[in-house]
């Protein structure tokens, strides 16, 4: 696709559509990677609620895998995760290790 020239731009850098954040994959910003341990998950969906992006996938009311295309590795899900019997269902691991 040809890059836009200055005459093609909407005035005021206004984004003229909703939900366009999906077009920008931000997973490469991540320094720490959340790991989901299904055996400790109680399906409370706190991670889905607290995720500031849309990196926790839920299907039929059940928690699914992380969407690493959008997860920036902020760690909020791991912090909020109550886990099971003191064992967290989400742990953060350094990328590249």
């Amino acid at each position: 696709m040809k890059a836009k020239g200055w005459k093609d731009l909407p005035p005021g850098s206004v984004v003229l559509e909703g939900g366009s954040a999906a077009k920008f994959k931000t997973g490469s910003w991540r320094a720490f990677r959340p790991i989901w341990k299904e055996e400790n998950c109680i399906q409370c969906l706190f991670c889905w609620i607290y995720c500031p992006d849309m990196a926790v996938k839920v299907k039929d009311g059940k928690r699914g895998e992380f969407d690493y295309d959008y997860c920036k590795g902020c760690g909020i899900c791991a912090l909020e995760c109550p886990g099971k019997k003191g064992q967290k269902a989400i742990e953060m691991a350094e990328e590249g290790k």
Partner: protein
């Protein structure tokens, strides 16, 4: 029918805003503007306007509230001075970059330190690169007329930019002058209903303001912003023409006074132009052909027209009521740049006058005109930049 009144500059601007009846007004007090927003707040309290007032805790918040309201889709106004304008600084760029036609009278006042509440142009000159249109006013009548015209200019569908209407603190804001008000209905018809452009509250068409744009498109957006400024001049002139039909008062992108056959000329902004015109008359009576150019549209600056108006003059003094320390006065820089492409250029000098409300006296204008007369005769400039009316 025009109504003749005796009012202050602040009162006149507040009345212009009342007649326009904007949707939203960000309000925060600062001398010498306070009186304008206080009067407008009374109109709101008394039900004379339908405006939603947002009382904020700083000018930074005031401009932020105005940006939000304008992006939502409202006709938005505020007013400020000096430190207040300085505190708005980062938000001023966002208002213009987002192309939001916020209208803001700026009652010009000196900047701290030392603390000073009186009239000079340091505040608006500090905001000259923020992407706002700037229109300057010599007296209360011009401030009133410019405030009304600013809505048509900023809200024009080809422009959509915020506008500052500048008037001198105290000298104009607090002095009572005779002036003419238009009828409320005339102003409403002249300004017209607010036309929306990409409003956030159009819920069927969701959109976002203020995205992150890096090396991919930022340069292109700034090029587009430059382009829209090139269209402002024609809109200002077209609006002025309509305004003349309504009011009988003629406006251009600048005013010239006895300049057509002048040998020497003064370029000066706002209230000091009036004093200078009187002294020019005295010099004319002595047989010295003096003239004046008073810019009205300072941003965008009409370089070609200013050069055309001054090209026949032998010597020009550009007078600044603000300084760019370590450089020339800001108005001088514009006029010098305007004259540079001319093959035969007038000689040019820069005087800094009236900082912090120091009186600009007829004797100062006479001193400058006498020096210009000498320069025109000798062809020699002794001092390029100099403070006048300053104690040694």
């Amino acid at each position: 029918m025009a109504k003749v009144v005796a009012v202050t500059g602040n009162e006149a601007c507040a009345n212009a805003l009342r007649q326009v009846n904007p949707d939203v007004c960000g309000i925060y007090p600062i001398t010498p503007q306070t009186d304008m927003m206080q009067r407008f707040a009374s109109y709101i309290a008394d039900g004379k306007v339908d405006t939603e007032s947002i009382l904020v805790e700083s000018e930074h918040s005031s401009m932020s509230a105005c940006i939000g309201a304008a992006a939502a889709g409202g006709r938005v106004v505020t007013a400020t001075s000096s430190q207040g304008l300085a505190l708005m600084w980062e938000m001023l760029h966002i208002a213009s970059g987002d192309r939001l036609p916020i209208i803001m009278p700026v009652v010009n006042r000196a900047l701290s330190a030392p603390l000073n509440i009186h009239g000079d142009h340091s505040d608006a000159m500090g905001a000259r690169d923020t992407g706002w249109i700037q229109i300057w006013s010599e007296n209360g009548q011009e401030a009133y007329d410019n405030t009304i015209q600013a809505f048509r200019i900023g809200e024009h569908m080809d422009i959509r930019l915020p506008v500052m209407v500048c008037l001198d603190g105290f000298i104009i804001s607090h002095s009572i002058e005779r002036m003419e008000y238009l009828e409320d209905q005339e102003v409403k018809d002249f300004v017209g209903p607010f036309r929306n452009f990409l409003p956030l509250l159009d819920l069927d068409n969701p959109k976002s303001y203020g995205p992150l744009i890096l090396t991919d498109l930022y340069h292109e957006y700034k090029r587009a912003q430059h382009e829209v400024m090139t269209k402002v001049k024609d809109v200002v002139l077209a609006v002025a023409k309509d305004f003349e039909k309504l009011s009988g008062r003629k406006y251009g992108i600048f005013e010239t006074y006895r300049l057509e056959d002048a040998d020497i000329a003064v370029v000066i902004l706002n209230s000091a132009a009036g004093t200078t015109k009187d002294v020019i008359d005295e010099f004319r009576d002595k047989g010295i052909r003096a003239g004046l150019l008073k810019p009205r549209l300072f941003r965008p600056f009409p370089f070609e027209e200013v050069a055309e108006a001054l090209k026949h003059v032998k010597a020009v003094c550009v007078m600044d009521r603000a300084d760019s320390f370590g450089s020339y006065g800001p108005l001088f820089m514009e006029v010098a740049s305007a004259l540079y492409p001319l093959e035969r250029k007038p000689l040019i000098i820069n005087k800094i006058y009236g900082l912090g409300g120091r009186d600009y006296l007829p004797s100062h204008a006479a001193q400058v005109l006498t020096e210009l007369h000498e320069i025109a005769k000798s062809g020699k400039v002794n001092v390029l930049k100099e403070y006048i009316g300053v104690r040694e």
